[in-house]
Symmetry: C2
Subunit: 249 residues, 2 copies
Amino acid sequence: MLNDTSLHHLDISHIRSSCATCSLRELCLPVGLNDQEIQVLGDVVSHKRKIQRGGYLHRTGSNFQSLFAIRSGFLKTCVLEEDGRQQVTGFHMTGELLGLDAISTDTHTCDAIALEDSEVCEIPFAKLEEISRTIPSLMRHFHKIMSREIVRDHGVMLLLGSMKAEERLASFLLNLSRRFLMRGYSESEFNLRMTREEIGSYLGLKLETVSRAFSKLQDENIIAVDNKHIQINDIARLRLKMGNSSCIT
Amino acid sequence: MLNDTSLHHLDISHIRSSCATCSLRELCLPVGLNDQEIQVLGDVVSHKRKIQRGGYLHRTGSNFQSLFAIRSGFLKTCVLEEDGRQQVTGFHMTGELLGLDAISTDTHTCDAIALEDSEVCEIPFAKLEEISRTIPSLMRHFHKIMSREIVRDHGVMLLLGSMKAEERLASFLLNLSRRFLMRGYSESEFNLRMTREEIGSYLGLKLETVSRAFSKLQDENIIAVDNKHIQINDIARLRLKMGNSSCIT
DNA sequence: TGTTAATTTTGATTCAGATCAATTAAAGCG
DNA sequence: CGCTTTAATTGATCTGAATCAAAATTAACA
């Protein structure tokens, strides 16, 4: 459950690297395409963009033209309320696709902010639709990505609707762990890119509660916390903490 | 915010009724298509299915073949946890599209249960993808539907993550009100099809809390509650109750 | 490098909503 | 129609997380 805009579980190692413009292999889209198709797709996603830490990839209300595939870095998406407070709707890392929400109204419905220096590929949506007409597997794949985002959101709804603080944090850490693993990083040791407040916003908790939950898990020797650095000592017990283990797979 | 799998706000009155098999006008898909295109689409969605109150449209884990467009009735979708408790992920009414979550893995990720006798049109997904290749506006429209579901889910996440009980119920009622209005029913008076427990599951509250929130709103003369029958006396004040009014539009 | 600002931790207290419990009302059904 | 089951309301109590508050730590930056 939790975050998974894209499809890292798919093995993309078989993709041949014929793309000159942009290393598509890291991206989420070209799964299962042949050389020629990758070439076509590559022409579409050629435009790269760098965002500095703290910078905006897009803002709520801004015009939608393109999806963004994250090549590197780490971003959050959040909706801003009148009163100034923000609700984080997701954390996003390499290979994931941003902007799906904006297709609905041709307007971005959330802010996307880089939590560390990041690089994205811009994918003009009109062009993506166009070429997906001639490459059925690309269309199918894109639909799966959108669907997966819906499934993820349902998972978060379940988390927010029925789990308690410690379960939420366990779920969150396990989700991060899995996503780091899929990208070839350690599943048991990583650095958080977001603050306690941002975690809290995402999990529907106050930052103090997040901090306390971290401390609690550390006291039980399930994890070791050193500020932003997390070490998972006992992943099995962390899974137990989640309670209904249906959420994360 | 809250429920809006589909796109009732679009005016479909201009659609010419050339479809022999199934009255597509009620459905969400054929917006902006010409006669011939509607004909093509009509051939795909011809298969109808009735579900009795309490019956399943699909179950978690079952094979995904088709999306379902609701022609009449009222359904809920919910995910079942190990412990037997269920989390309602949405309530769905005429014109909305079910099954989007299943595209991701070709397996349904939730149960869809009729809360009253309902009728749906089955839309074989492979065929939909196929014809959407030749009808760009249909493809675009389908993408907007998926995207809108993502936006809706983000709205629910915001609700679950940051609103308190009374705000959640106000938001829920206003959402229902709007959806009834869009279908030509009264926005100020309607019957709930779901129990307090199901509302609570959806809103992340216990049924007692839902009941108390109803009573509170009634005491303040904002609504009148008679079991499942709801009358909204002061929609403006109900909106105020929601707090951050960004959610519902 | 020193100074300031932001973040994190921890404690004390409060409160919204959960839980427990009992009653009332409505819906099925033989 | 009366009986049983299910759903809804309301009250009393408890509890997990919010809030308030202060100290400690880390990061930012001139």
